[in-house]
Symmetry: D2
Subunit: 483 residues, 4 copies
Amino acid sequence: MTRHKTAMTDQTQHNASQNPDSAAANSMWGGRFSESNAAIMQAINASIDVDKRLYAQDIQGSMAHARMLAKQGIITGDDAEVICKGLAQIKTEIQEGRFVFSQELEDIHMNVEARLKAIVGEPAGRLHTARSRNDQVATDFRLWLRDQIDYSVGQIDKLLTALLDQAEKHAETVMPGYTHLQPAQPVTFGHHLMAYVEMLTRDKERLQDARKRLNRSPLGSAAMAGTGFAIDREATAAALGFDGPTRNSMDAVADRDFALEFLAAGAICLIHLSRLAEELVIWSTPSIGFVTMSDKFSTGSSIMPQKRNPDAAELIRAKPGRLLGAFQTLAVVMKGLPMTYAKDMQEDKEITFAAADALDLSLAAMAGMIEDLTAHPAAMRAACQKGHLTATDLADWLVRELGMPFRDAHHVTGRVVVVADQKDCPIWDLELADLQSVEPRITAQVFEVLSIDASVASRRSFGGTAPERVKAAVAEARARLNV
Amino acid sequence: MTRHKTAMTDQTQHNASQNPDSAAANSMWGGRFSESNAAIMQAINASIDVDKRLYAQDIQGSMAHARMLAKQGIITGDDAEVICKGLAQIKTEIQEGRFVFSQELEDIHMNVEARLKAIVGEPAGRLHTARSRNDQVATDFRLWLRDQIDYSVGQIDKLLTALLDQAEKHAETVMPGYTHLQPAQPVTFGHHLMAYVEMLTRDKERLQDARKRLNRSPLGSAAMAGTGFAIDREATAAALGFDGPTRNSMDAVADRDFALEFLAAGAICLIHLSRLAEELVIWSTPSIGFVTMSDKFSTGSSIMPQKRNPDAAELIRAKPGRLLGAFQTLAVVMKGLPMTYAKDMQEDKEITFAAADALDLSLAAMAGMIEDLTAHPAAMRAACQKGHLTATDLADWLVRELGMPFRDAHHVTGRVVVVADQKDCPIWDLELADLQSVEPRITAQVFEVLSIDASVASRRSFGGTAPERVKAAVAEARARLNV
Amino acid sequence: MTRHKTAMTDQTQHNASQNPDSAAANSMWGGRFSESNAAIMQAINASIDVDKRLYAQDIQGSMAHARMLAKQGIITGDDAEVICKGLAQIKTEIQEGRFVFSQELEDIHMNVEARLKAIVGEPAGRLHTARSRNDQVATDFRLWLRDQIDYSVGQIDKLLTALLDQAEKHAETVMPGYTHLQPAQPVTFGHHLMAYVEMLTRDKERLQDARKRLNRSPLGSAAMAGTGFAIDREATAAALGFDGPTRNSMDAVADRDFALEFLAAGAICLIHLSRLAEELVIWSTPSIGFVTMSDKFSTGSSIMPQKRNPDAAELIRAKPGRLLGAFQTLAVVMKGLPMTYAKDMQEDKEITFAAADALDLSLAAMAGMIEDLTAHPAAMRAACQKGHLTATDLADWLVRELGMPFRDAHHVTGRVVVVADQKDCPIWDLELADLQSVEPRITAQVFEVLSIDASVASRRSFGGTAPERVKAAVAEARARLNV
Amino acid sequence: MTRHKTAMTDQTQHNASQNPDSAAANSMWGGRFSESNAAIMQAINASIDVDKRLYAQDIQGSMAHARMLAKQGIITGDDAEVICKGLAQIKTEIQEGRFVFSQELEDIHMNVEARLKAIVGEPAGRLHTARSRNDQVATDFRLWLRDQIDYSVGQIDKLLTALLDQAEKHAETVMPGYTHLQPAQPVTFGHHLMAYVEMLTRDKERLQDARKRLNRSPLGSAAMAGTGFAIDREATAAALGFDGPTRNSMDAVADRDFALEFLAAGAICLIHLSRLAEELVIWSTPSIGFVTMSDKFSTGSSIMPQKRNPDAAELIRAKPGRLLGAFQTLAVVMKGLPMTYAKDMQEDKEITFAAADALDLSLAAMAGMIEDLTAHPAAMRAACQKGHLTATDLADWLVRELGMPFRDAHHVTGRVVVVADQKDCPIWDLELADLQSVEPRITAQVFEVLSIDASVASRRSFGGTAPERVKAAVAEARARLNV
């Protein structure tokens, strides 16, 4: 078999050939090791391909650490300056694509430190004072995730804006409201879209709550016990925008709650998007025809020239799988791990990065689709002819006007529906005589509540679908959400 | 095959035999149905075995609804009073085990309503005015979950108390701190336990954030479009202790975020407990012997008379599986569901109830285990003899006293460790000459930092393991958490 | 808070009050324990509420074990006879509902053994020779799951029969075939249903492969090391219908692969059912109207008298969540467990039992729905008017008759579709002139391939949708599957 | 915020700048589209970064298809030859890294086809006759997964060999056998390792069963309805090594069972590895010290120079999370999808590829670790001194020699254990008088069964831990597994 085993084998061979002297053990921790790592070990152990995405946060954290060390007199001010200058140079090298990452140096922390040593010499060796990779990576990852949350919240705001714009535009556009995908009662398209505004508002709050909880600095927890150097954890926390330092050094290096909480919140957000995506798919099937997605968000078929497929909606519908899978993955990793850091936790970043990308991509694509969406009010109104959508209004009228208990009114209405089905018309097209054959006390006044528009207009209870309510809800949401 | 198919077949047969007239269609909605449900349909559809657990909340919600209807003049005050009296009687019947639940009546809502009709007659039929089972069940479930969260938070508080008590007691008890389950640096047992205090504090906050978000009343959203009756949603919300009504009627009946968020928070909490449980299992294996669990939380073997098994810890270790499974189950159910209510959502309660029980049971069992836990300080101290736990202290001394860059100090220390391994002793039992053979500038002063106790005492950075820090952390936590 | 904490608290109190002498330690293993278990420990530890479902298998296994012990001369023939007679009596007591299960006796094994002691006295104490609960429960659970798989396979067969009957009936009923929920090419409804026959056939095979793998007897592995008694494991394996004994005693008591494999296979099966359920939900929305589910599998609304909801389909659509959750739960439990048995594994049965019920219920409900399903061929045919379903046939004609490369034909057809959309008609209603305006070489012969029926009839490739193919496929499947 | 949003933004910009004429719609399906895709749409839609890994299978499938078309007279033999030569050239270009992949061409299929057109001109346009991307990708993915399974099975074989070698070497090395991580009975290290041979044997069988089921050819199912061209699906199936064609064209393009089944089987396999990994981590903590992993599979610490961490074992322990997450992801994607192909399914490959890599890496790393593993028989034997490991042997002796029922013997032994604990010695170091103080009938003969070696030697039941049994099991496994 001539199997193409790209991912692993190639990379490993690449390293092996690139580093003829890989027999030398790792220079950061290898002092007492007599043998170098196996190639397969390097492949499974190295995280640089993944965690290089943390480079900006790693450098930011190291600068804050170096300056604090100098302020506390643990290293000299000169050393700190040299270190920070070197780190700034490295940041530029990475941003300009000139930095050569090495898999043997395992991770972003050691890649940066090794390069720093090459640039500034001995002072580089003083940077790791009162610090361990354990608190360093926890700090980097929190900084990154904080940025990520801010970015995702911004993406949600864009989608909220798109939804609010469409909701406002369609505050009076009637359509069937469904339960069980069966027509239930008429609603407005604007009201329907506002349901998603509510969901996304909660998503935003959940992300913000997660941000609040993650915003403590692990820096200075060192390996896991704290340090004997007279460091100032408040200072580094403040310099990095944290609300303060974490309270227990062991928890600080062993905790990945923040990632789990982000993944759970992201999964719930994408479940919301998947519901809207499912609706877009259903609404754009020709038999329904409520909406058309723009060409920008549709694709064709390689074999069927007439096709116009809602691919973007389908891809968004699929994405909760990613977030749910990522949450499950990290949960499985963390479950049952004894204190404190264990290498198992290295799995955290790859899955969180991929999940964050899936979240952002879905939010952006959905915002684009909603902005571009063309609704078809005529098709929506036509669909209201099926399913006797104002049956509840009839029952309510019986309660209100005839003083009938609701349960009895429900039964009377049920019988009216049977009559209408026999005549193959909606209940509002029945003759008064038809209605009276079921309940003699019904008067012609009933027709005032049986039309689609009357029904919608009547639902003025707070949170209801009446156009005036929808317009008020849009205005209130704009003000509250500041979007 | 004479298979014992208890769960399903028996129940169904039971119902079939109990209700000879089951041919009659459901009395609440069956008006226009010509044929009754299949037995298998009843088995898959009925939720009463599960949702009867909501009886108190259902009755509470109905009372608030009836009173509001009366206040708004939608029903008479007399009717409301009769209804509430009937409901109070039903509550007593259920609490005293005298209520006969019927599977044909599908769910708790219809069981209660049918019984109400039997007790009070016609007014019962007026209770469902301006309400649907869709907003009713959403209200009941939120009320139940709010109580559940309050209960779980109380359970967490009990566990926090147990942890703080043990942490205080063992603020000076030294033990090896581990990373990768390898001895890393000495810590105190109290510090170790305080890591869990941090985790549980976050768990508590997460549950409280979830409570804050769920505490809006869906009541009055009716089927999904709101209602034309002049109801007062603020009033029912206030009567039920909600912060206010939900803002969109469609979202209100289609949303189960609150359950998902609770399940995710509960899963993370149980992951924390599983980590502690794993440690208890490891600590109580005879080769480690750091702790003994009380007889109350241990079991024996049916074949090996000498066994003493940490069953409670193992069961707690397993329980995150339940919560993670429940979260995945509900997420799978909700993903891609179009608006608004769909019967798929009926799956929500059974899994949430079971998950809540698993959470509470685990918290209670862990609190009991921790309260009863006997630590063995001598065994913990003895274990500190292995693994050169103060190697970092030596490296730090080299940095501090000799001005060596940390990276160089790390290498020197690595060579000292090799010497100690050759002599089969901890580094603090080496002769000064041994140390000087590696680095001549080392002086006898170094031994002041090499002892286990000196190391622990030195970690005075905020969040560090020094006993004084641990004591301060316990005191601070007691004050902050009010436990 | 007057919280109703049914599940746990009540049960525990119940036990406490029922057993005033619960201070006495467990009689099976408690010899050297000085204190009895905590109430909370009993609540978390006891499994009898769950594993009593294994009673028949437990008794079956004990009988086989006793007879083997006698045959090997380890106990007397008289003892074996007395034991088996006692066990038979216990089985009857349980089946007749006369057996009193005790939570203090923890599980089904000890409940049965304690009762056996009460019935037969001393010989009961000889039954546990050369056996442990570890191999006993593994044996019971495998026996139960083997029965379960046989039952589920039978359920699949019933559903296959229902699908084949409908497929045969509708081998010529044309409907739009969809990709992306967009009409793509015409197919027959029979062909569509036959896709599910393929899926369920694989499900059946997967379950049968799982059965093959589980069918080894753990009995005689004892606690985990095997036994020094001269037992005959082949004999007990044969007596219990196993293909032979397991090969390693440690694996035998630590393995739950069989449950994981069943849950994975069951989850995949329910994913298939969820796809069909989704289609039934979509097909029965009035704008589509392809099918009607019988009253037996539909429900109404408590507020909207006109509703007819596809509840059974929705519940089935939700059920994969249960199986996926169960698989994840057990996987989380088993991950990282050291050899051999750990109490964590006690979680296995409750989730497997519940998952099996969900599987069986879904299969039975789907079989009933499909049997009862009324298809609406006219609506299906009418829907074929939208979406230019024979566009591929036009492209294929251009390839075949004009020798055009497919890619060019695809482009020509795309332009024809644009013309038809402008004229608001399907491509087969265009004039020849219209077609020739795009590609002059097109002749009137093309209309022979452009009708829905011609298209369907032409797809005669193996596995294609031509009615003759579908009929042949139904016949072949009936013969192969023996249903 | 200067956020580094690599993954998405950069890629998109890159494409935008690279393709100034991206305004032109997709050349394969874009005929009737008036507007090109949004950049965000391209980012979410394009799969080429992922599915280029299928290039070899895609080319293999196209060659088989072209040759069959020629054999059936649908294209000319010359065209087929030209096409196959062009495809061979493309394969070389890709293998040599000279092929330029385009994101605008979406996927591997269109990248290859576009390049083919550039190389061979018009005949390239004939290749897509009687084929769609739907059956093409299903074919490619199955071919790839078949190769993957063969590769993974080979990896399992290597690990089996390593385990068998160590098991043979340690067939007589005694160690404590554990349940609940408490010493239970003595076993041999070889026996312990053979438990994993059993697990991996089942894993292999599960993968082989999955392979058997996936090995049907979807090619010729076209978009979803089959084709009117007179193709020979048996011929392409045979040419590609399939056992035959799939039986239903709709199922063929809508099915991803094969990936789900692979992921479930892979997850179970990695759960097994995680159990062994957990044991390696525990065994290598200094207080236990049963094994040492080679330097090749250990790492050090950046702050603690003395550390030697079992990183490889920890990473393997974490990997089931990936497979479980991947299974969950794909299951969520597939759940509830209506027939036939939907774009959601595009998620299948990325997660399956990553999962396969995680599986292979874990198997390879574990094989390396086991090969290199140094066991410490002295430490294992010393650990047998704790936990009265032969208590069951004492109980069995009482049963055998004194005719005591096992339950009574269990109680007597329990009391002996208490005496031994009071004297702080193992039960075999008690005086005869001590034993007789509990049960006077005990004789000195009992000491013959109380030693660790006697205990182990006595467990000769099939599957037991006696060294002779272990050796026989190794030999039997080598013969059966052919490794």
